[in-house]
């Protein structure tokens, strides 16, 4: 479903790509598939409507800048509008501060509290955690267990029912800490008493930040909930959690637009280390279910280098170790292969996962091994027999298994490229891009 959606977006983009002038029907079709993609990603319906209006208007009214084709022009507008809506990443200072966590039940506040503690601890700041969730069974032991894992002190009392008292005492207790993070119980917009509780906590603690924790799967409720929290305590940042699932996080966009704040961190896993700074570009790509728009534009230009990889030969099925060597070098410059490939609008192209599975240390080793090969071997890896493997491994100072692993990787890549030739997307265009990258 999701894939078919993003591919309809890609189809619409393809149609636009063929045009030399901006064509109303094509733009409308594009905007429609864009709408569906955003709705599917749980972006607020009204926001989606506003957004698509202005994208349509700009696409039709604005002249494409010189040297930009229609497709790039429209994509750029889509990208700019989305970035405008998102307002960039929320700020984090590595300074003394108090952070108040707020959010719906089960959104990930406690886990994220521990992740943040880890983040600041790693930056060398002294952290103290206050457990102001006096309601949920096991809330204290959850936070205490997590805090213990990273040796961060926690203040709280599983038998105390008064959250305000805990906050009052906790703030005193951690007067000497640099970063104080207050975990609170979950609450929602319709629970007036609980909203009042967090208003009071906010007054007592006078936190520097009030961050709203949003589950990536949150649907159309996001706007309303965010509005209520914002009215109550003034939200100045959004923490987006559970991005390791399949949800797109459109609710966070609604929350950001409602609170006029930005996404600060993204949680993508259940362990304490699974916290990342927010990256607008990757987020937009995921929302739309297509390659990283901005990165595609920027990186493709950066790395246009010596195009001496024989694209035509590869298209005929001749992909030698030499080609792979160049490819590894280029990839080294650009980041992981998977990321590079995901930036290309390749449609439904299937590339086996193990083709991506090269770490940079492995890449370096591969290059060393290839340096020990003869020209004949590089041009035609078929000739490499058992004794060749022994010689190469001795020359490169690696084990024969390493050499065999390289050859296996080569065959995987070769197969992947062959598979591409058979598929229906334009091989020509793909290889041109591929070549351009090298």
């Amino acid at each position: 479903m999701l894939d078919s959606l993003s591919s309809s977006l890609k189809d619409a983009l393809k149609k636009i790509a063929g045009k030399t002038v901006v064509d109303r029907a094509a733009v409308e079709e594009l905007v429609r598939s864009l709408q569906r993609a955003l709705l599917q990603a749980d972006v607020n319906v009204k926001l989606v409507m506003q957004l698509s209006q202005s994208i349509k208007r700009r696409a039709l009214e604005e002249e494409p800048p010189k040297g930009m084709n229609v497709r790039e022009h429209v994509l750029r507008i889509v990208y700019q509008e989305l970035v405008g809506l998102m307002g960039g990443a929320g700020k984090v200072e590595l300074a003394p501060q108090t952070i108040l966590m707020a959010g719906l039940q089960g959104s990930g506040k406690t886990t994220t509290t521990a992740k943040l503690a880890r983040y600041f601890q790693r930056k060398g700041l002294k952290v103290g955690l206050i457990c102001a969730d006096t309601f949920r069974p096991g809330a204290y032991s959850q936070l205490a267990t997590l805090a213990k894992k990273i040796n961060v002190p926690i203040f709280g009392d599983p038998n105390e029912k008064d959250a305000l008292k805990i906050v009052r005492e906790g703030m005193k207790h951690f007067a000497g800490a640099q970063v104080r993070i207050i975990d609170t119980q979950g609450r929602h917009a319709l629970e007036d008493e609980l909203i009042e509780e967090i208003v009071n906590i906010n007054e007592i603690a006078r936190p520097d930040h009030r961050w709203l924790v949003i589950d990536a799967a949150l649907g159309q409720q996001a706007s309303e909930q965010a509005r209520r929290f914002n009215d109550a305590i003034g939200i100045d940042g959004v923490l987006l959690t559970k991005m390791d699932g399949t949800a797109k996080g459109g609710g966070a966009l609604s929350a950001v637009s409602e609170t006029k704040s930005g996404i600060v961190f993204v949680g993508a896993g259940e362990t304490i280390e699974d916290l990342e700074r927010f990256e607008p570009d990757g987020f937009i790509s995921r929302l739309l279910g297509m390659g990283d728009l901005k990165a595609l534009a920027e990186k493709a230009e950066e790395v246009i280098a010596d195009g001496d990889m024989d694209v035509n030969a590869i298209m005929r099925g001749k992909f030698t170790l030499r080609d792979m060597y160049k490819q590894l070098e280029a990839v080294n410059k650009m980041g992981p292969l998977k990321q590079v490939m995901s930036m290309l609008p390749l449609g439904g192209l299937q590339i086996p996962d193990d083709a991506y599975d090269v770490t940079s240390t492995k890449m370096d080793r591969y290059k060393v091994i290839m340096d020990s090969m003869t020209n004949a071997e590089l041009d035609d890896p078929q000739v490499i027999s058992g004794s060749h493997v022994q010689r190469i491994s001795r020359g490169a100072g690696v084990s024969p298994d390493d050499v065999r692993e390289l050859l296996k990787y080569y065959r995987t890549m070769q197969r992947a490229l062959k598979g591409m030739r058979g598929s229906k997307f334009s091989m020509q265009r793909m290889m041109k891009r591929f070549g351009k990258m090298q």
């Binding site: 709408q35 599917q40 719906l104 089960g106």
Partner: protein
Amino acid sequence: MFEGLRNKLQSIREKFGTSIRDAAGSDVREVEKPVEAPSPAPQPETVSAPVLPEAPKVAPAEPERVVPAPVKTVPVEPKKPEGIFSRVRSFVIERELVISEKDIEEPLTDLEMVLLENDVALEVSDAILAYMREDLVGKHRKIGSSVDDIVSTALRGALLKVLGDGFDLPAYIDSHERPVKILVTGVNGTGKTTSIAKMAHYLMGQGYSVVLGAGDTFRAGAIEQIEEHGRRLDVKVIHHQEGSDPAAVLFDTVDYAKAHGIDVVLADTAGRFHNRKNLMNQLDKIRRVVKPDLVVYVDEAVAGNDAVVRAKDFNDLVGTDAVMLTKADMDPRGGAAISIAQTIGKPILFLGTGQAYDDIVPFRPEAVVDELLGVEK
């Protein structure tokens, strides 16, 4: 719950009514008829859905109907609240009518917007629209049919189709060998553990004995959480330590139930994402060890489109027999209920409507549709 959707559906129904009346042209007559029940409550907040030009389009219309004579529009009166034996106005058509796709294109688009805004997933709202189209388009409508009936019957049918059947848990328990083993699954933080406590409370209220299995051995504080529920409800909780094998704890729980003649085993599991292969395999192993009678999948009413994706994966990978939908108190829309039910074609067992043990409501599709359509009993 469902108020938001209900209010909007009311205005959508009126739009369908207007479109169909327009299609019938002058051949529509206004009648008043006495009714025995109070008429539906007035809907003050009949906000119209955004009617936007580039809203997702329905399939192309079939041009088949003769264009009607200039429309004699009848103003859509807000229905006044009237007492029992009041009279409501309605419209009946006075010639045979075949509604075409084009006649209802606009209200269908509006309906789609309303459904989406209320968290009905895109593909599910597509399905509802398809049912509506199937029911309304191309069929002969007899002279004397009421426009409102045509519309409500179609909408009611479409909603019932997507909501599926209900599930009577006490009846199920009574007709099965004890202990009845219920395994609870779902992604992180949806309310599995709380729902287990609520189900225990509900079942004890119905006279059944229960035991809880602390099968979440992964999350920090999870065992303490379910133990605390056990203490408060005075229910036995079988647990091992954090990090131990969940299948083993749950196996012991079933053993305990057998040895003590307990009626129902409620087995908790750690939340996990459907895209984590190893965790889903682990859950499958748990299922093979526990051999549950029912796998209850828990998700929350505020989840958006991902609800459909994960419900489907859980169903495919470990199987789901019934669904519990939590946090319905957060969201008066309830669209996710509709989505999940439609997607996996499994009955919704309970709604969770708050954090107290009493906040659990058996789910009855007929009643939900009545509520959505403003029918009062």
